[in-house]
Assembly symmetry: C2
Homo-oligomer: 156 residues x 2
Amino acid sequence: MTPSRDDWLSIGQIAERTGLAISAIRYYETQGLVAPDRNSGGQRRYRRTDIRRLSFVMIAQQLGLSISDIHAQLSALPSARTPTQKDWRLMSTDFRRRIEDQIAALELMRDRLYGCIGCGCLSLTNCALYNPEDRASAKGAGPRYLLGDDPNAPHI
Amino acid sequence: MTPSRDDWLSIGQIAERTGLAISAIRYYETQGLVAPDRNSGGQRRYRRTDIRRLSFVMIAQQLGLSISDIHAQLSALPSARTPTQKDWRLMSTDFRRRIEDQIAALELMRDRLYGCIGCGCLSLTNCALYNPEDRASAKGAGPRYLLGDDPNAPHI
DNA sequence: TCTTGACCTGAAGTTAGGTTGAGGTTTTAG
DNA sequence: CTAAAACCTCAACCTAACTTCAGGTCAAGA
């Protein structure tokens, strides 16, 4: 599948097609997300599949993946290189799970918040709002009741 | 409500109570989120209400507010200073709306992704996944069809 | 009193994801 | 052939939200 001469794209053309800034595309190259060839003058020459590859990068970013997450995803492709339809089917299923998880976490937070709206105690242990991921679930100092100024304020 | 001597807390005590790092608490002070007094030796002395105030900061951060957002919220309090129950009722209602919005955005993205799972075209215009906030809704260059390598690939 | 632990300031470093600028080369249109 | 547009590299800068460090001060217990 070596592309014919006309299929090569300059960085400017890639930028125009994807909507990315040229500087961003060059940055992605330093992060190993694309690997264009060079022409005799040293300028980058992209294949058309790189548009698809960069589209994947943009979509994955919207889904909250970091650059290195994305790098990992792309490196893990059985076929390496640019994602195919089949790759995409697999990855998008995984992405969907991520979204579902995020939604679930937000719903949990919403419900906790709802339970606290009338309260106002702002107790860090009671509200549990400040650590939706249950960070520091058993991180020293024992059970702390962080009640601000009024330890006897009604809760709910 | 000037606190009695025993109600003053050192920065280390505040850190222990809130779970925040001392450096973070000092940083929040530079950002105007807390304003402790000083003792004769120049050391910070906090009131008990500052625990509540910092709890609010942590909760708001979990909800995605930036430091300056939080600063704005705190400054906008009618009663100024530390949030009371009534303040909290108002703000938490607003917070809840933010969460609902985030959930709605994610659900939209999930549905779009669902429609794309079998496809694999990764077309930036068709999938619309890469811009859930409809960024660049009409940002020059006219309608672009970003089809990667095969402009005739079937979509869905 | 002495020592140790807690605290102070200000500057610099950190991570992520890029952008901007300087100074120079290549490509392309006329 | 020439001028302008596009491209190149490398280094420095940017924001957010902190952390770390160096060098010095304060407070509390034996």
